[in-house]
């Protein structure tokens, strides 16, 4: 790992290629287990997982958190666990979850994947520039990433159609019954959801994967958090905000945002 340039910058787990690096297997990573354990009252996840950073243990070894979790909880091992042991090269960054919330493993994994993918997209200067606020110099990448890292994510059921809510700069609540957690992949693995376009008309948007969709939702909310996107007072503004995020942070290939 030390010879891998991608491991030098903790913000670039996607190796500057979020399209192809966003956890394509849908595996649950070490941090997801860690957060799950923390939020289900497990008092000492470190005893099982270490600190989850730089996990390099071989599958089945004492350093492999998935093996230990599999033994402890009866989870199947690497079939659904990404611990950086060689079956996956992704060293996830831990998002902050709202204290006292109740999160399933799959919800925790979805937040972790989307959060890390969003950080990956911010490696792109064009995307990072979207979040430049007035008076902020051009090192906005760190600012936007820091804002993501300072955000506390929660999960709550909401009005059907609402994907997330936010207001103050450090809080985002994701709808447990919304698109973030419930988008079923198409046969080819892409994900399609309906939302307003910049004309306020309902339009179908297709994303390369669930994780790409999740990153889009988090980046849209990040725009509100940082004050660069106005509140979604009507569908046209909502659509214009989404268009700004999609244009600056994502690439559209054959009608699919990546």
């Amino acid at each position: 790992m030390a010879n891998d340039p991608g491991s030098w910058n903790r913000y670039s787990y996607t190796r500057g290629d979020p399209v192809n690096r966003v956890d394509p297997s849908g595996q649950i990573d070490c941090w997801s287990y860690y957060l799950y354990l923390t939020n289900t009252g497990f008092t000492d996840p470190d005893s099982l997982l270490g600190n989850c950073e730089g996990q390099q243990g071989e599958t089945g070894s004492e350093l492999d958190p998935c093996s230990q979790l599999a033994e402890e909880f009866g989870f199947s091992d690497d079939a659904n666990c990404n611990d950086g042991d060689g079956s996956s090269e992704y060293a996830m960054i831990q998002p902050t979850l709202l204290a006292g919330g109740k999160y399933s493993i799959s919800q925790t994994a979805a937040i972790t994947n989307g959060f890390n993918a969003a950080i990956g997209y911010l490696d792109n200067p064009k995307c990072a520039d979207l979040f430049v606020t007035e008076g902020t110099p051009d090192f906005a990448t760190a600012t936007a990433v820091e804002q993501l890292e300072n955000t506390t994510y929660g999960v709550t059921s909401m009005k059907p159609g609402v994907a997330a809510v936010t207001e103050n700069s450090t809080w985002v609540e994701l709808a447990s019954n919304g698109a973030f957690f419930n988008s079923a992949p198409n046969a080819n693995g892409t994900v399609s959801e309906t939302g307003p376009n910049s004309n306020g008309k309902d339009t179908t948007f297709t994303f390369a994967s669930t994780t790409v969709l999740q990153a889009f939702i988090l980046l849209h909310e990040l725009g509100h958090q940082m004050g660069v996107l106005p509140p979604d007072a009507n569908k046209a503004i909502n659509g214009a905000n989404s268009a700004a995020v999609l244009q600056d942070c994502f690439t559209k290939v054959n009608g699919v945002y990546q």
Binding site: T133, V165, K235
Partner: protein, 184 residues
């Protein structure tokens, strides 16, 4: 190009886009009076969040010179979505408004909208049986409550005969809300 210039240009683009759309679609000038509001605590969230289920009615008046598509006065069977509280704002003691939350509408279910009613210029209609769920950090309320003055940016949903769902939204008149003390 400096970061400041890019920010200004982006802001102008968004405002222009919103303005063009508003003009192009002759955004109707609705007013909305909220009435009959009942707030109940929603369970299950962490202590730091206030989650409140609300039921209410809305008296809509068309102040524009064109017909405005709005939901039917009463809900049909089947649980179609007729409205969504997208933004809630709290009135501060000094009269200023402070946002409590803004919602991101994305991933809307399909075929869940009732046919639109058409509200004639100058006309008024009573929309009954609306509901929603508000979620926001308790810290956002500050020292306010349990009686607060609040207003919504409310989106209204219905389906036109051509199948489209119009972009109808309204900022409600301010109204009083008693927050349920046992809300969690």
């Amino acid at each position: 190009m400096t970061a400041r210039m890019r920010w200004v240009i982006r802001g102008l683009f968004i405002l222009l886009a919103a303005g063009v759309v508003a003009n192009a679609t002759s955004e109707p000038a609705l007013t909305a009076l909220i009435h009959g509001l009942v707030a109940t605590p929603a369970e299950g969230g962490p202590p730091s969040l206030l989650q409140v289920g609300i039921q209410f009615g809305a008296r809509l008046t068309n102040k524009s010179g064109t017909t405005v598509p709005v939901p039917q006065e009463t809900a049909a069977e089947g649980g179609a979505i007729r409205s969504a509280v997208i933004i809630a704002e709290l009135q501060e003691p000094n009269g200023d408004w402070r946002r409590l939350f803004t919602s991101f509408w994305f991933g809307s279910p399909k075929d869940i909208y009732e046919p639109c009613a058409q509200l004639a210029p100058g006309g008024t209609t009573e929309i009954k049986g609306l509901d929603d769920k508000m979620v926001f950090p308790r810290s956002g309320l500050g020292s306010a409550g349990p009686d607060i003055t609040i207003r919504f940016d409310l989106w209204l949903f219905c389906r036109q005969p051509d199948g489209t769902v119009p972009d109808t939204s309204v900022t409600t008149e301010p109204f009083s809300l008693k927050l349920p003390s046992e809300a969690n």
